[in-house]
């Protein structure tokens, strides 16, 4: 063991939360050490482009395809669920079907960019509907930080579209950029579907195809200047920064936006006050050392490796006044458990959640222009809230702009079917594909999941990675509450298809393989949304939660744990904007405390 550095704040993890911490703490003249387990290739445009070229050349083009892990920093891959191998040890009964990325920039390198706020009612699920938990803060507490986060991430949307379901905006506020133009298929669907009525239990809802807020560059409002690509170079030269100041429609938000018009955390990192920031990449945090008497964190041990292809490493220790774990819901819990800091509440690692998601796919009656534009630009948000939540999960639909790509492997599988089964060639083949591919449409039905202590991350000394660090052992079950939501979602999707004249082609036999789960006489094939939550849930009591509303550990008062791990419940919004808002709130408190 060698090398000890003293910082104001030691941050573990350079995803969106770690980057926001680094940006604002360094700007407040605090000295920050940022430890990132993965490589830094994405911080130069040239390095980023290499990852893109890698993606072009690989056969399996899943969300992780451009981002292969370093040997020393393994990560889950959605493909592992099929092979039952990989980084996660899945104890079941259902596999957790999501993944994340250990790279400088974190999973924002391959997120979709959906930047929805949570609904006010999402924070009070227990008091409103008698299920789940309440948050120790409410929408109004977070609203100013949502605004700030929307500027930090660069979110494109129109308040006029988003002020519904109780979501309120500050007077005179609008998003920093105009909404991303709705795709041609959104417009078609809107014409056919808007105003249709659906019922959930006794409640009636009006459905509207609604543009969603996205952290993708669009036409700016006022003086806002969209951040383009990150191009940090040793010589300070950066030719690529003006690339990606508008979304160019690469239809590749996930797994890699080629021009970085979509937010990634390296943009935030690049805005840090560099003289106050030390970034160490390929540095795997392996142990949190605490004072056994006070419980205060004394240092963080980390393993530094030179070669991403090798487990060879050296061990170091970092010291600060305050420590921040921003490594991901699963990694945060794993690191604490590996440090023997499971805690007295028994909640650490528990309440693991996701938004288990179903696909529905079909053919539109006329060409809809599939395979163009951002991966998706609109959805159905009307069923995210309501009294039905006392009975079953809420849900939202995302309407894809990429045909059946994620559901069936199109267009390759469509071509193979036309050539090998339909025996088409020549002009007939071209015409068949022109008419079929353009009409493919896909809905993602993302369903809420409640916290349960049966769903958790643990560690087991018999499952270690190549550095000797524990691999996450995952227990996970999709319960009746979520299954009820899946049933309702599938039924509403069917009605929307009917209304729009879409021929329903949903058929798990012909689709990509996904894990299945039964509910009554129905079988659902679900995938993960990459939305891990709940492993260090916040609350108002150390007996029932891991962190307080400031994301500060109840037991280790100079330790903060950031991210969706802090969420007591998930609601139906993609978690990134909410975790960014929470982090910005924590940053405010930390700066006040450390600067005094």
């Amino acid at each position: 063991m060698n090398g000890e550095e003293q910082y104001d704040v030691v941050v573990v993890g350079a995803g969106v939360n770690g980057a926001l911490m680094a940006k604002y703490l360094t700007r407040a003249k605090l000295r920050v050490l940022l430890l990132e387990a993965g490589p830094a290739t994405a911080e130069s445009f040239e390095g980023y482009t290499r990852q893109l070229t890698h993606f072009y050349g690989v056969k399996a083009k899943g969300p992780e395809a451009p981002w292969p892990p370093a040997v020393a920093a393994p990560q889950p891959d959605t493909h592992d669920i099929r092979t039952e191998g990989g980084y996660f040890v899945q104890k079941g009964p259902n596999p957790h079907a999501s993944s994340y990325t250990r790279y400088l920039g974190g999973s924002t390198l391959h997120w979709l960019g959906v930047a929805l706020r949570m609904l006010p009612e999402d924070f009070k699920l227990r008091s409103r509907y008698g299920v789940g938990r309440d948050w120790p803060l409410d929408y109004r507490d977070l609203e100013p930080y949502y605004r700030k986060a929307e500027f930090d991430l660069g979110v494109a949307a129109d308040v006029a579209d988003q002020a519904h379901l109780g979501v309120e905006f500050a007077e005179g506020y609008d998003y920093p950029m105009r909404r991303i133009p709705p795709s041609y298929s959104d417009q078609m669907l809107s014409t056919a579907v808007d105003g249709m009525r659906v019922s959930l239990g006794d409640e009636e809802f009006t459905v509207k195809i609604r543009n969603y807020p996205a952290a993708r560059n669009s036409i700016p409002r006022g003086d806002f200047i969209p951040d383009g690509a990150v191009d940090e170079r040793a010589d300070g030269q950066a030719l690529a920064r003006d690339i990606g100041q508008r979304c160019q429609g690469n239809t590749a938000c996930t797994p890699i936006c080629p021009v970085q018009a979509k937010y990634n955390a390296n943009k935030t990192l690049a805005q840090s006050e560099r003289e106050n920031l030390q970034v160490l990449t390929q540095a795997v945090a392996s142990k949190v050392n605490v004072d056994p008497v006070s419980g205060a964190v004394e240092s963080i041990e980390y393993q530094r490796y030179e070669d991403p292809g090798s487990p060879r490493h050296t061990v170091h220790r970092a010291k600060g006044r305050v420590y921040v774990l921003a490594a991901h819901a699963v990694e945060n819990a794993k690191l604490m458990l590996a440090s023997g800091l499971g805690g007295a509440s028994g909640q650490l690692g528990k309440n693991l959640m996701d938004h288990p998601c179903l696909y529905a796919w079909g053919l539109t009656p006329s060409p809809a222009g599939a395979f163009r534009g951002p991966l998706s630009t609109a959805g159905v948000d009307d069923l995210r809230g309501g009294a039905f939540r006392a009975e079953h999960a809420a849900f939202r639909f995302d309407i894809g702009n990429d045909g059946w790509r994620s559901a069936t492997g199109a267009p390759d599988t469509t071509v193979a079917d036309a050539v090998n089964q339909k025996k088409l060639f020549g002009r007939e083949l071209v015409e068949h594909l022109a008419s079929t591919l353009s009409r493919q449409i896909r809905f993602s039905l993302a369903v809420e999941q409640l916290p349960s202590t049966a769903n958790n991350v643990t560690i087991d000394p018999q499952y270690l990675d190549s550095l000797g660090n524990p691999r996450p052992v995952i227990s996970y079950q999709i319960d009746d509450y979520t299954l009820g939501g899946m049933s309702a979602a599938a039924e509403v999707a069917r009605q929307v298809f009917d209304r729009a004249g879409i021929t329903d082609c949903t058929n798990s036999e012909e689709g990509t393989w996904f894990p299945s789960i039964s509910h009554g006489d129905k079988v659902f094939h679900y995938h993960g949304m990459g939305h891990f939550g709940g492993t260090h849930a916040m609350g108002d009591s150390p007996e029932t939660s891991v962190v307080d509303a400031d994301q500060r550990s109840w037991e280790h008062r100079n330790l903060f744990m950031l991210g969706s791990g802090s969420f007591p419940t998930m609601g139906t919004s993609n978690p990134t904007l909410t975790m960014a808002a929470l982090t910005l709130r924590t940053v405010d408190r930390l700066i006040t405390e450390l600067s005094s």
Partner: protein, 352 residues
């Protein structure tokens, strides 16, 4: 009448900036997908900068009541002669092309034109009317581009003094192309409504083109384009504040990894009907792009949005030509001819 003279000069400026774009696009598109990363980035960023210059010149012209034109006879034809005597050619990425870009980026430098019998030129060359239009006010021979813009600024100041600033800047502000429709390029569109903003806009063009000659770095600490082209010419990077030729670490440049398009191709070079159809498609898209740009300068600024789409379409169609060997030209390929298609029609809006 000084307003008319100003309008002529500013129209010439719009055409001048437009005419630099196809040569850069040819260099950019002829680079094969893998390699020459630095060259691709430099050329791409110069293209968006030249586009910005054209938008700025058009904003100034609009501000004094003009109507910027880029279609028909106002579209460039290649080889294309600039006011300073530099002749622009459509060439693949090559040492000759990089030399030409160095001239364009540093317009006050003296220029040695390619000989008329240079193998790249195939004996073609004609002078565009722009070169005549942009003769200096004193009528004496070609001027430099920097001097050309400085002269416009001086004339403008003079006219504002004579007729009054408000009278000179009588244009409809709704005709200005603002930064919501034109972005990037390390600079921003400037709305021109008076002498100060007009001066800003024109100085932006001159400064971006010439750089600050006192330093090789710009205000943001970035190496000016002229010096980036020198890095490519010499295959070496600048280090620190060093001036002269770069002597630092190697910059990878591979002139062999290109589509070797013939110089200054013309539609009539394509006798194969499919190839001719592919070339016609490029010219149709180029002409749509020009129509959209012209509309954006004439009261429909949002036409800049579909223009970006046309620009990408042009790239994809040009690449098809570039990957086709041209029979009768050993080892050479077809390429985009950038000819005006009078039958083209364009979408001028986008459903937002």
């Amino acid at each position: 009448m000084s307003r008319d003279r100003l309008k002529d000069l500013l129209q010439a400026a719009v055409e001048l900036e437009l005419s630099t774009i196809p040569p850069y696009l040819c260099a950019l598109y002829t680079i094969r997908p893998v390699g020459n990363d630095e060259a691709k980035l430099v050329i791409r960023s110069v293209v968006v900068e030249e586009m910005l210059h054209m938008v700025l010149a058009a904003n100034v012209l609009n501000a004094i009541g003009g109507e910027p034109q880029v279609t028909g006879d106002h579209a460039p034809r290649y080889p294309h002669e600039l006011p300073d005597g530099v002749v622009l050619h459509l060439l693949p990425f090559s040492p000759e092309a990089v030399d030409a870009f160095l001239k364009v980026e540093n317009p006050d430098q003296s220029y040695q034109p390619l000989a008329a019998d240079h193998p790249l030129l195939g004996g073609r060359r004609h002078q565009h009317h722009l070169a005549r239009c942009a003769q200096s006010a004193e009528g004496s021979g070609p001027t430099t581009i920097g001097a050309f813009y400085r002269e416009i600024i001086a004339l403008m100041e003079q006219a504002a003094g004579q007729m009054g600033e408000q009278q000179l800047f009588c244009g409809d502000p709704a005709r200005q192309v603002g930064r919501e429709y034109y972005y990037a390029a390390g600079g921003r569109s400037i709305i021109v409504t008076d002498l100060a903003s007009a001066r800003n806009a024109l100085q932006e063009i001159v400064e971006q083109g010439e750089g600050d000659m006192g330093s090789i770095y710009d205000d943001d600490g970035d190496l000016a384009h002229y010096y980036r082209f020198k890095q490519i010419k010499h295959g070496r990077a600048y280090t620190g504040a060093a001036e002269g030729d770069p002597t630092g670490p190697p910059v990878a440049v591979d002139y062999d990894s290109i589509f070797a398009m013939i110089a200054n191709p013309r539609s009539e070079d394509y006798t194969d009907p499919d190839l001719r159809a592919a070339s016609d498609a490029v010219n149709r898209t180029w002409s749509e792009l020009l129509l959209q740009i012209e509309a954006s300068f004439n009261g429909t600024p949002e036409a800049m949005l579909p223009a970006v789409h046309s620009m990408f379409k042009l790239r994809d169609e040009a690449i098809v030509l570039l990957a086709n060997p041209l029979s009768g030209h050993a080892g050479r390929t077809a390429g985009p001819t950038f000819e005006w298609d009078p039958s083209a029609q364009a979408d001028l809006g986008m459903p937002l």
